[in-house]
Every structure is written in C-alpha cells, then in structure tokens.
Amino acid sequence: MTTPTSPSGHLTSDLIALDKGAIVAFAARFDPQPYHLDADAAEQSIFGGLCASGWHIAALATRLVSQTLLDNGIPFVEMTSVSHLTWSRPTFVNEKIGVRITLDASLADSPIAGTYSQTLEVDVRNDDGAVVATMTATAAIAADPTVVAAP
C-alpha cells in the first residue's frame, strides 16, 4: 500500500470499494434497517438508494487510518476517542472510500499504558472526491514501537 505524504503534511490512504455484499453483510449484523438492506426500500427512504451504514463507514475509515499510519512508521495501537464525527452524505453501492489524515501537533497522555495520544483530523472521501464523513479522533500511538511487533 502506498501512502504518499503531500507537501501540506497530509497522509492519504488507498481506496476501499464497497460492493452490495459488503454493505448488506455489515448492515445485517449491526444495522438491519431497510435502507441498508433492501434496494427498493432504500429508494423510498431519505437516502434515495441502498447505502452503507454510517458505522460501517466509521469502521472502515478507522481501518484505513491505522493502515496508513502504520505504513508511515507511526505505530498505531488503538483509537480511543472521537470528539466529533459527521456523516455528510451516503455511500452507495460500488462507491469507494479513502481517508485523508492530518496529524495534530499536540500530543497528550493516553489511557493505554505505554502509548501517547495523537489527535487526527480525518476526511473520508469517495472516489469522486466528495467528502462523505469527517472525524476528529484521538489515537493511542506506541511509545516504544517494538512492543507492538513482539512475537
């Protein structure tokens, strides 16, 4: 996975595709509401089409954040808080999403021993570049990277 760092200091992830099977599989387990399960019902809903659960988007965005940080040598351990998350638009079948991460300069104590807290601004965009969600989150980062890589 390539994660180029732009001149402005952002980290950008690869894209994850969301096909109908993935959307329905998550929704059937965690968010079984008609607009995430059934195309006809979804067309009549506020979303206007079958779309992913917002929690599915949040989980995948966090997966992309962890992969991107790890690929850039930042030993991500766990997300510990999300001070704000807005879902701006639905993610429909066969759209792709990726994240753009801005690392806040300020570091703080973490609730997990052996880690420090890193604030992250995360934009989740689809393959048209439209923002589908924004998130301000705090991640625990390993103070000693070798602990994560222990046997």
Partner: protein, 169 residues
Amino acid sequence: MTALYLRERWFEDLPLGEFHVFGSHTFSELEIVEFAEAYDPRPELTNPEQALYSHRQGLVASPWLITAMWMRKMVDYMEVYAQGVNDGRRNGAGVAINDLQWLEPVRPGHTLTYTYEIIAKPDRVIREKWGLIRSRNEAFNQYRTKVMQFEIDILAERRPPNSDDPQQQ
C-alpha cells in the same frame, strides 16, 4: 389509552429525559476475531496468541465493534418497542456524533448493557420535515464500569401541519 410506540411518534412527541435500556450483549472470542478480520485486521486483534503480547495484554474487541453493537441493540429494541409498525420514513438516520470515548477494554466474555437518554432537541429543521433528537448513550460492563459513551444526533420526522394523528398540537 392508545399506546404510542416510538416509531409512531413525531419529533414533537419525544420528551427530554426519555430513557431506555436497549439490552445486553456478551461478546464472544469468535465474534471479536471475526469483526477484526473483516474491519480491523491487525494481528493483535485477530490472533488471541499474538494479542497476549500487545499493549492490552490479551484479546480485546475492536472499538467500533463495541459501538456497532449499540446500533444493533437499538434497532432490535425499537423493533420490539414499535411493534407492528413498519414505517421507515420516520425512522431517521444519524447525522453526527460527539464525545465518543472508549474508556475500558472489552474482552471475550464481557457483557455490556447499553443505555439511551434523550438530552436535547436542537432547534433545527432539516429538509423542511426533520428535527434532531440528541441522545447520550452509554455502555456498562458486568462490573458496572462505563466502557463507552457518546452523543448522537438522529433525525426524527416533524409532525406535518395537516396531520390527523392523535395529539394534534
């Protein structure tokens, strides 16, 4: 008296302070591993042996599994509470969350109880027909320790001006 179930009510009918216990869920090792494999595939979350050497010193649930299970418990609870009603139009989507914190690790065998309380009704009209219900949601483990909290704004349909529903304003 006619029972008013949650989905039969309009935005105007939902009172501040309304409180629900959505129910409890016991997390198995298998579902913790399966969630991680699908949505957070790092070795310390998918491999219980490797998890022993992680910062958590053992397998823990991916944070979003803890939160996604809140959604499932809410949907299940509303299906029962709104029995017989199959009207997705008033069943609004979430638009934003605030102050989400994962406070304690959740390990295999832990049982979480999820609670919900309406704490605000922000004075906003969205797309001419929706209002916002702000709730505080918390999850407690078997030791009665709070392990997760967040606030969420969920759309609720406002009563149409010409509605012939009961409790006309």
